[in-house]
Amino acid sequence: MHLDAKIPSGPLEKKWDRHRLEMKLVNPANKRKFDVIVVGSGLAGASAAATLGELGYKVQCFCFQDSPRRAHSIAAQGGINAAKNYQNDGDSIYRLFHDTIKGGDFRGREANTYRLAQLSVNIIDQCVAQGVPFAREYGGLLANRSFGGAQVSRTFYARGQTGQQLLVGAYQALCRQIAAGTVRMYPRTEMLNLVLVEDQAKGIVVRDLISGEITSHAADAVVLATGGYSNVFYLSTNARGCNVTAAYRAYKKGAAFANPCYTQIHPTCIPVSGEHQSKLTLMSESLRNDGRVWVSKKRGDKRQPHQIPEPERDYYLERKYPSFGNLAPRDISSRAAKEVCDEGRGVGPSGLGVYLDFADAIKRLSEDRIRERYGNLFEMYETITGENAYKTPMRIFPALHYTMGGLWVDYNLMSNLPGLFVLGEANFSDHGANRLGASALMQGLADGYFVLPYTIGNYFASTKPLKPAVSRPEFKAAEEETRNLTNRLLSIRGKRTTTSFHRELGKLLWDKCGMARNEAGLEEALKRIPALRQEFWENLTVTGENGEFNQALEYAGRVADYMEFAELLCTDALSRRESCGGHFRTEFQTDEGEARRDDENFSFVSAWEFQGVDKAPVLHKEPLVYEEVKMTQRSYK
């Protein structure tokens, strides 16, 4: 496998402009001759499908939800970053770029990250033009707030529903193209296989979730915008349907999977209440702008929060990181919460929680101002816990939230398989080992609106068009493979449900490959995962049949992939003998307990090549070369 990142030459700030000039164009009249498959309809998928449709390509867009508007991007609460410098507080494209690279612990690709910061500016213009109702000041101009890990106010937001508003904007643009006939939408349709023709990605196999019918679709290029894999941990803040299947099945067809061990734990989620828990709910990190995080200084303190006087409280983020305080980056805040809980100072019935207290902010600003800023989040908290956070501090705990790893892509967002493009959370390229708050929405939209539409044209213009028919043997073989897998799942007729397997796998990963990892734990996980997988294939029970609407079957197929993917995740975590960003190895930490990077030996992207289910994958390294920034030890003190 040869990994060429295809980073354009020249100074960092000129790379994208130069590349745009050098890329070949497809004649407007010829665009309709090219078919594109887009899988996923979140921010990246919907924006890409809509924009490609506007340009004149023939697009087929697939999503497993009943409507493209329900993709999980919708749940993002806090906001979207852009280097507009509307607040005149010293922001710039370069600063956003530098913050993102530094926040990613110098494990991101410099050129991609710089381009992301450049395009952030266009995204806001685009969204406003679509009618996204961003928050405004009384003068009618756009409002901003600062957000986790940033010292400038560059985050644009729409109450606590920024993801929803941006997604509705992209969805509306997509709907306009569906009406115009340039995009054909396939809701309730799940991609189950990738089809290669002459070693190029030229189609997919899908299952119609209503009829169960398995069919093929061919195109000149396949775009995956299928999100992240947090749900391999069973409990995460991701929607129930989020899964790794499309990305993982592409990996099994030869696409390299990069940095799977870079997983992000979000510091502000509502603590787990019991075994029945089906997912975790995130409270936007923007709450940390006005909330103060604390626990009691005493271990096992069972007093109610209001009974603990000020001198007996430990505002540990403010104490440890005086300049960033409660806004310290996500990985640092999460680990700090785990530490105080490990010390026996956690709060709430389970002891797995810390307080996020708004009393000071309410005193300073009034309850009404706080309600205006976070009203819906406080309501959500009350709905779930039955507690009023205006009166008593919230309880929060970290949870799996986002995955920086994903399919390997070059600067053009094309994987090592020609014709296969990967956008948004599903790729690996822009956030390094840790993503800053309000940057996921930015990346999804940058990829879909402003990067792919250019780079896919260059691909079409520089390769010989190949119009495969779905009757070709490659498609028939891929369909057969997919049907066999489905039949195999249905024919086990064992005793254990998919949920029970998924829960066991998730707990194993959370314990051994979660917030803190070490060699012994990872080796143990790597022994137990294959055993669990074997049991899965011998003792699983899936009800119903293939030829019907069968949610049990959909779920079983996704968990079957997790059973293999979990091993890849742990293999990557074991091989990266350093700590960086979301990947914290307890053996590699500074005297102060911070992540200790090893730039000399690990300044590379780990891209894994599939060899077979029970065979070790092969590691390929893409060296990370920093032409512009100087790698430093992250310090938020």
Partner: protein, 247 residues
Amino acid sequence: MNLCLKVWRQKYGKTPGAFREYRAKNVIPDMSFLEMLDVVNEDLAERGEDPIAFDSDCREGICGACSLVINGVPHGGHEGTATCQLHMRHFHDGQTIMIEPWRARAFPPVKDLVVDRSAFDRIIQAGGFVSVSTGGTPDANALPIPKVDQELAMDAAACIGCGACVAACKNASAMLFVSAKIGHLGLLPQGKVEKNRRALNMVEAMDAEGFGSCSVTGSCEAVCPKKINLSFISKMNGDYLLATLGF
């Protein structure tokens, strides 16, 4: 607590359905309604019986996938709450709970509690957008928008497209959903340009899908998980009237 559930089961969209009784045992007050159903389904799966099909995804009240009529009320009747955010602390031991799908001609059944809401997508396709393509847009701050207009537009834009408004309405009218989109876009200068065309096209699409008329009972507003205000319907009627008169 222990509960008796009467759940609508319907194997295929075109086969007749019926209520079936299930016991939900050891329900914990902190469970969400859907987590309670997960536990029931887990029991059914272990016994090799077909689990109850229902839609859900984000489980935090924003994606709009969940869609249950609980004891006759869409989303269960707690103000501003979608089914996934309804918790079992609002029920009591020994209670019987009726669970049904959205029922409307324009939402054909798929299986059990799952219906086809693609009619909503088609209404948006008829005009629920601003006709701008990617690129070439002016600076985001080039056009100041009064905060009150933006806030009101945001109230309308909060709609999650779940369809509870249709399920609650005795006429299965989609007026609240359609008026929320028309309100959201029509209140902002970016969307005002196409206000008339949008109102005409979306209302026409709504009628073509087989949704009923509005008789202003307000049942839609009462069940809306995002508390979309009835006043958007009168605004839509105004837009539509002016559009038909050619203003």
